[in-house]
Amino acid sequence: MSKLNKLLTNTRIWIYIIFFVLTMLAINPNPFNKGVAIRTVTLNNSAYLAGMQSPSPSDAPMNRERIIEINGQSVANMDDYETIISGLLDNSSLFIKTEKSKLGLITESKTYTILLSSKDNLGLKVYDAPKSNILLGLDLQGGTRVVLQPETKLAPEDVDILVKNMQERLNIFGLSDTVIRVANDLANNQFIVVEIAGANEEEVKELLSKQGKFVAKIGNESVFVGGKDITYVCRTAQCSGLDPQYGCQQTSDGSYACRFMFSITLTTGASEKQAEVTRGLDVVYEGMGEGYLSQSLDLYLDDSLVDSLRIGSSLRGNPVTDISISGSGAGRSRQEAATATLESMKKLQTVLITGSLPVKLTIIKTDALSPSLGKEFLRNAILIALLSEIAVTAIVILRYKKIKVAMPIITVITSEILLILGISALFKQNIDIAGIAGIVVAIGTGVDDQIVITDELLHHGKKEKDEESYLTYSQRTKKAFFIVMAAFFATVASMIPLLFAGAGLLKGFAITTIIGVTNGVLITRPAFAQMMEILLEDDEE
């Protein structure tokens, strides 16, 4: 049987090949993937009303919906998209054509007609179409990470409530490409890690850490609370925005202050509670016109007073369900004040809808990571991986001086890098900078094992010379695997504590390393040993 035949009929080599093909399918690389992928469709904005939807965070990158055409102009990348978007006009129509791959084979195409009332109201966040399913960590693609610690340790069911509530807050706020997870450390502290892909969103810090305990009180009596007592919060331009009667005004110190207002609908229970509390209040008349009740409606967010609203006399003892909420914001310029005011309105609306979190949270770490820096790091990481591999190859060639020996080693190292990436893609595991270090280390340990196997196979004397200590190839492989397996268990043992330490911040490193070495001992090393046995056989015969 020729060597090629032997290689192609070997089970272990086939397992390796099949596994390799499967992981390549998981990565699903396509360097020509065109368009811009949809990251977020903001609720109630034009794109949303036309039927566009945010992707689910669990969608593989290559299965995300991509915009490929706007108004007949093709969109190949972010530059094209931005050029087209910057030329949009108010009160115009927009035709967007999208594509979405399913199972990597079928492509589904959709066309949306968007009626754009204002060009700022499109409500789409997009990014360059991904070229593969490899998920990049925040430090490589840009994004925001907030690590929070609950004031008291939460029971599992409370954690669920907390995570759902936070997720909802982020969605309502207009962010969908988010991951919220619970992490622990070795001292059994609990952490909530929130990751928002793609953008530097410092403004969400507050939204996440606020418990969002909203209470409306008259005197000392609580009338309604955020979440359960509120059935509807208006967020359209008709019934929410800057207060038209007050607008923005310059204050005595030269800065500006604005007021916002929006309407909400209370449950009947809450409106009756209000009627009951107001029934006993006096009416106070100030000058002409309608009088006010003697006590005002005080709005508290997390125990601090947000605003105090005067109650019209007609509302006394009257169970109204529609009321209007207001508040204020300030800034150095009119524009800044207006933006800050609308921002705090948005946050207040969000917590009124979602209700309060089951516990107070403290922010203990925030990372706002720049996408352009991430790109730079990624380019650098690819270069490093390539050149480290070349360096290792050089060492292997120098040592063995035989292409026949060096080639399998190099093939296996290259495939191992791809296997780590593929398995990570399959298990939706991010590759971050620490993960890249893990890959470089895996190249190092991977080659270590292969050197052990090669040396065992090469240096065991000639059969005729030393009958007694002569070992067959499979006996030598077995000996080599003793060392390989011990080294494997030792590496995994050293990485396990990292999986659970320090709020999981170094998990990326531990996981890529563990994936790398596990895949090594299960798939690639056995195949490698067989490859070497077959290739070296003739030398001795």
């Binding site: 001292a187 403290t362 720049s370 290792v392 620490a434 080659v447 052990v452 000996k479 060392i483 043992a493």
Partner: protein
């Protein structure tokens, strides 16, 4: 205990032969075989120097190693900018925030400066960013990263490092013992792994390098690397019970040094090319650690195993 033979007589014969041939390499081999106890002084010396370096660092900063903001708490600002006059910027910032400790570095790729990294403690990120922009002009949101580490998390992260290291040693010891069923051999391997980490830390302290969270991963990895070579050595010297333990030793050494060379090649290339400081630090620790590991394994661990072999030999011979 009768399993372990080192066939001392044969060994001596072989040495005579090799010293006759007289080449530098064979004399070196000879010295290595005969005077390994003298070589062990190198390990003791390095350990003592590391103790001094660590105690000195402790007297300076009140901790056995310097820590960066990721383990101490503070703000780390990374900006993509062509501005490269970091000395001017540094003195400007120090003047502006006299209370806080500020360290500036450039972010470079190869020899090209791509940006600036500013680490500061006891300062608000907004104020710091405003001050930086005052000096070098407006920076787009896209082009900077702000990482803020709460001091409590930084502190606990640092403490966790010890627990993680201790656990890693414990697990490693269990794996080793499961494989070799010999306390002394396990102890020798763990000691050489420990010395590897300890001396590497001493070297890092000597150069005043501040440990970051990523560096912790590197130290853990180092245990793995170090134990890899120890497993190879112990297998060849103890487990396989070769007639000629010196020949087995040199065989293992050839394999082990190739392994270290491959590891060093990958990490050295990565260290010089990386533009990310976390990656750079991980690689630096691995490079120093791999170099030290050559000494701790092929002198330290070897000496301990040889002493063991000799003793068990004497026991077996009247």
């Amino acid at each position: 205990m009768s399993k372990l033979n080192s066939h001392g007589h044969e060994k001596r014969e072989q040495h005579k032969e090799s010293s006759k041939s007289g080449s530098f390499l064979s004399r070196l081999k000879d010295f290595y075989i005969k005077d390994y106890k003298k070589l062990f002084l190198i390990i003791i010396g390095l350990t003592l120097l590391s103790i001094v370096s660590i105690i000195y660092t402790y007297s300076q900063v009140g901790d056995f190693t310097r820590r960066d903001v990721s383990l101490k708490g503070g703000v780390s600002l990374t900006i993509t900018t062509p501005y490269s006059d970091i000395n001017t910027l540094e003195s400007f910032l120090i003047e502006k925030f006299p209370e806080s400790s500020i360290i500036l570095r450039t972010l470079s790729s190869g020899s090209q400066v791509k940006g600036i990294i500013i680490e500061a403690s006891d300062v608000q990120d907004k104020e710091l960013m405003d001050a930086v922009q005052e000096k070098i002009g407006k920076i787009d949101k896209e082009n900077y990263s702000v990482e803020i580490m709460g001091s409590s998390l930084g502190e606990s992260f640092f403490k966790e490092m010890f627990i993680a290291l201790a656990l890693a040693f414990l697990f490693m010891g269990l794996v080793f013992h499961f494989y070799f069923r010999n306390f002394y051999v396990t102890f020798a391997a763990l000691l050489s792994a420990f010395l590897d980490i300890f001396i590497t830390l001493g070297v890092m302290n000597f150069f005043g390098i501040r440990l970051s969270a990523g560096g912790i991963a590197a130290y853990l990895m180092l245990i793995g690397y170090s134990v890899d070579t120890s497993i190879l050595l112990s297998t060849k010297l103890i487990k396989e019970k070769k007639d000629d333990s010196d020949k087995a030793l040199f065989g293992a050494m050839k394999t082990g040094l190739t392994m270290s060379a491959a590891g060093l090649a990958a990490t050295t290339i990565s260290f010089f090319l990386a533009n990310n400081i976390i990656l750079k630090q991980i690689m630096l620790i691995l490079i120093v650690g791999l170099l030290i590991d050559i000494l701790t394994t092929w002198i330290g661990n070897v000496t301990l195993l040889k002493v063991y072999l000799e003793k068990s030999n004497k026991k077996n011979r009247p």
